[in-house]
C-alpha cells in the first residue's frame, strides 16, 4: 500500500476543483457561492496555476450559484496575471445571476465567455 490518509472534512459553501489540461491550461470548477468568505478557495488554485506557468485559465461556472464583487475581483486579478503572461481567463456556462454581475459592471468585456466547455478547452483536451 503506497499511501495512507486518515482524514476529515468541513462542509463549505464553495467547493473548488482544479486540474491541468494539456500544457498550459488549467480547468477550475467552483461549485456553490463565491463571496468574501469563500474567495480564497478560488484564488488559491488560480494563483497556483499561474505560478506554474499555466496561463489559460478555464473556469467552469455551471455550478456557481452566486458571485458578488469579491468573486469578480478574484477573477479580475487572475485575468491581469494571465494576460501579462500572454494567457487569458475563459468563463464557461455562467448562470443568469452570475452573468448579471459581469454585465452590469462591464467586466464581461475583459473575459472570454463560452457556453460550453468544448470551445474553452485547448484542442488537445
Amino acid at each position: 500500500m503506497d499511501r495512507q490518509h486518515i482524514g476529515s472534512v468541513r462542509p463549505e459553501r464553495l467547493r473548488v476543483e482544479a486540474r491541468t489540461v494539456g500544457d498550459d491550461a488549467e480547468l477550475v470548477v467552483p461549485v456553490g457561492e463565491l463571496d468574501h468568505h469563500t474567495a480564497e478557495l478560488l484564488r488559491a488554485p488560480l494563483d497556483a496555476a499561474l505560478d506554474a506557468g499555466r496561463v489559460r485559465l478555464v473556469v467552469d461556472c455551471a455550478g456557481l450559484g452566486f458571485c458578488d464583487s469579491t468573486g469578480l475581483n478574484v477573477l479580475l486579478g487572475a485575468r491581469l496575471r494571465a494576460e501579462a503572461a500572454g494567457g487569458a481567463v475563459h468563463l464557461v456556462a455562467m448562470r443568469p445571476a452570475v452573468a448579471r454581475v459581469f454585465r452590469i459592471t462591464g467586466a464581461e468585456a475583459v473575459f472570454t465567455l463560452h457556453e460550453t466547455l468544448a470551445t474553452a478547452l485547448p484542442d488537445s483536451g
Binding site: D35, H36, D68, T70, N73, A97, T105, A109, V110
Partner: protein
C-alpha cells in the same frame, strides 16, 4: 422611505460576533423574500429582482466587514413597492463609489453595483454614537 405607514414588515438579524456573516445575511434575506412571495420567482425578470436584492445585501455586508470593523445588524424592510436594506456597522468612514470605475481591474465594484441596482442609497448616523447605517432601496418586481 417617506412615510412610516409604508412599512409593511421589518426583519432584523443580529450579525455582531457571528462568523460567516455574508452568506448568513443572504440566507436571511432570501427567507424574507420567499415568505413575501418574491421567491421562487416565476419568470426571468422577477428572479432577477430577487437576485439583485441578494447581491446588494452581499455588497453592503462585505463592505461592513472590510471597511468598518464588521456589521452589527441587518434590517430588511418591506415597503409597499420597494425593499429597503439597512446594514449597521461599527466603523468610521463612509461608502464612496470609486471614480472612475474601471471595469477590467479588481476593486471599486461594490458600491458601483449598489448604485446601479438601487433606486437610492445613503448613510445614517446617530450623533454621539460610533458606527453608522448604510441603507439601500430596490424596487419590488411589478
Amino acid at each position: 422611505m417617506d412615510q412610516a405607514s409604508d412599512v409593511l414588515e421589518v426583519r432584523t438579524l443580529a450579525l455582531g460576533g457571528t462568523s460567516g456573516t455574508v452568506p448568513l445575511a443572504r440566507d436571511f434575506t432570501r427567507t424574507a423574500l420567499t415568505e413575501w412571495g418574491w421567491l421562487p420567482a416565476v419568470g426571468a425578470d422577477r428572479r432577477a429582482a430577487a437576485e439583485d436584492v441578494l447581491l446588494v445585501v452581499s455588497e453592503l455586508v462585505t463592505n461592513a466587514c472590510l471597511h468598518a470593523e464588521g456589521p452589527e445588524r441587518l434590517q430588511v424592510v418591506r415597503l409597499a413597492s420597494t425593499v429597503r436594506l439597512e446594514v449597521t456597522d461599527r466603523g468610521a468612514g463612509q461608502p464612496t463609489p470609486r471614480t472612475p470605475h474601471r471595469a477590467g481591474r479588481p476593486g471599486g465594484h461594490g458600491m458601483f453595483i449598489v448604485q446601479r441596482l438601487c433606486l437610492d442609497w445613503g448613510i445614517q448616523r446617530v450623533p454621539g454614537s460610533p458606527g453608522k447605517t448604510v441603507w439601500a432601496e430596490l424596487a419590488a418586481p411589478a
